[in-house]
C-alpha cells in the first residue's frame, strides 16, 4: 500500500501514472487521531479502486457511520462498489477471515486495508500473537499478489493509533515495525492556526529518502493535498527513534472530531 498512499499524497500537484502495479512495501499508518487515519485509508481505497486491478478489501472492527471523505472519488459509485468492507469483531474473527481468504472465489483484491489495529492488539496481547497477526496480514497480501499475477501485486496498509500521552508509543510497535518496513506518521502540528493540523511523515524504508506533503481536510469533507515546501520544513519532533530521515506531511483537519468523523 505504500505505493497507493504515495499516489494519494502526490495526487495534488503531479499525479504520476499508476505505475506497473507494484504495491510497494507493507505500510503502517501511525499516529493520531484515528479519524484522519480512516480518511487516508479510505482515500487509498478509492485510489486503488480506480485502477481497475481488482477490488479493495477494507477491514475495520465497526462499520463506518458516515463517509470519511467527500471527494469526487468518494462520490463515484463505480469506485465505491469496488471497496468491500468487512467487520471482524475480535482477533479470532480477524485471523479466521485472513486465514480463509483463499477459499473465496472471485478476483483477488489489489489492496488490503486494516483500520484500527489498536482495537485488536492490546498490551495484554502476547508478542507472538501480535507477530502472528502481522505475519498473517502479510501472508494474505502476498497470497492476493500471487493471484494478481502479471497484473501487479496487492498492497497492504494497516492503521494503528498510538497513545496520545506517550507520543509515538503503542503496544508491540517495535515488533510490528519488523513486519512493516514502510511507515507513515501523522502528528498534530500547530501551523494550522485555528484549524486542527496534523503533520505526517512517510518513509518507505529505512534508507528511503523523505518526501513531504500538506493535507487539509476542508469543512465540506474535501481533502486538499499539497507538497510540503522543502525550505519551510523543519525537523520533526523526535519520536522515539522514528523521526530520522522521514518526510513530513501536514493534515489540517479541523472537523475531524465533528459530525463527519464519528469514529473517535
Amino acid at each position: 500500500m505504500a505505493e497507493t498512499l504515495r499516489r494519494v499524497l502526490e495526487a495534488g500537484p503531479a499525479a504520476g501514472p499508476a505505475g506497473d502495479g507494484a504495491a510497494g512495501p507493507p505500510l503502517l499508518l501511525l499516529g493520531a487521531p484515528r479519524s484522519a487515519q480512516t480518511s487516508l485509508l479510505f482515500a487509498a481505497a478509492l485510489e486503488a479502486a480506480g485502477e481497475g486491478r481488482g477490488p479493495v478489501l477494507f477491514l475495520t472492527r465497526r462499520p463506518l457511520q458516515s463517509m470519511p471523505l467527500n471527494t469526487p472519488a468518494a462520490r463515484d459509485p463505480w469506485r465505491l462498489q469496488k471497496v468491500r468492507f468487512q467487520y471482524p469483531s475480535s482477533v479470532p474473527e480477524l485471523l479466521q477471515l485472513l486465514a480463509s481468504v483463499h477459499e473465496a472465489p472471485g478476483p483477488a483484491p489489489s489492496l488490503l486495508l486494516l483500520d484500527g489495529l489498536e482495537e485488536y492488539l492490546t498490551e495484554d496481547s502476547r508478542p507472538q500473537e501480535a507477530a502472528y497477526l502481522a505475519a498473517l496480514l502479510l501472508d494474505t497480501a502476498d497470497y492476493f499478489s500471487h493471484r494478481q499475477g502479471a497484473r501487479g501485486s496487492c498492497g497492504l496498509v494497516v492503521a494503528l493509533e498510538t497513545l496520545k500521552e506517550a507520543d509515538g508509543d503503542a503496544p508491540h510497535l517495535t515488533l510490528l515495525q519488523r513486519y512493516f518496513p514502510a511507515q507513515c506518521w501523522l502528528q498534530s502540528d500547530a501551523l494550522g492556526g485555528q484549524q486542527h493540523c496534523l503533520r505526517a511523515s512517510l518513509e518507505l524504508g529505512k534508507l528511503s529518502p523523505r518526501t513531504e506533503w500538506s493535507v487539509t481536510f476542508l469543512p465540506n469533507g474535501e481533502m486538499k493535498i499539497t507538497s510540503w515546501p522543502t525550505q519551510a520544513s523543519k525537523p520533526s519532533p523526535d519520536q522515539k527513534g522514528s523521526s530520522a530521515g522521514r518526510q513530513s506531511l501536514t493534515l489540517v483537519c479541523d472537523n475531524l472530531s465533528g459530525r463527519q468523523f464519528p469514529l473517535d
Binding site: A99, H102, R126, Y132, D139, D142, Y143, H146
Partner: protein
Amino acid sequence: MAVTLPEVVEELLREMASAVRDGARIPDEHLSSLKFVFGSSAIQALDLVDRESVTLISSPSGRRVYQVIGSSGKTYTCLASCHYCSCPAFAFSVLRKGDSLLCKHLLAIYLSQVMRNCQQLSVSDKQLTDLLLMEKTQEA
C-alpha cells in the same frame, strides 16, 4: 519468501544452491560461514534438512504454508511469505530479544530449498485454513 535476508546471507544461500545445482558438494567454507552467521542453529537446521523435516503444504487455491518437524518431534508452522514460526525460540530469541535473525526451523526452510529436499503435500483449501488457524493455538 518475500522478506529479505541480509545480503551476505542471500549470497551465501545462492552460492550453496549453485553448488547443489552443479551436483557438487557444498564447500566446507560455506558451511563454516553458515555456522558463523547462525551459530548452533546452523547445525541443527542442517540436521532437520537431512531428516527431511521440512514440508511445503499447498492447496488448489495456490496458498502455501510450511510445516517443520522439530528435533523433539513437535510440528511447527511457518508462513511461506514472511518470517514467522510458531516455535518458542522464534518468540524469544527473534521477537523478544532480537538477537537472532531466524530460528532453526526457518533456516531449515531456506536450506531445504537450497538442497532441494523440501517435501511437498497437497491439501484442500479448507484444510489449509485449518492449518493456518491451528498455529495460533500452539503455545509458546
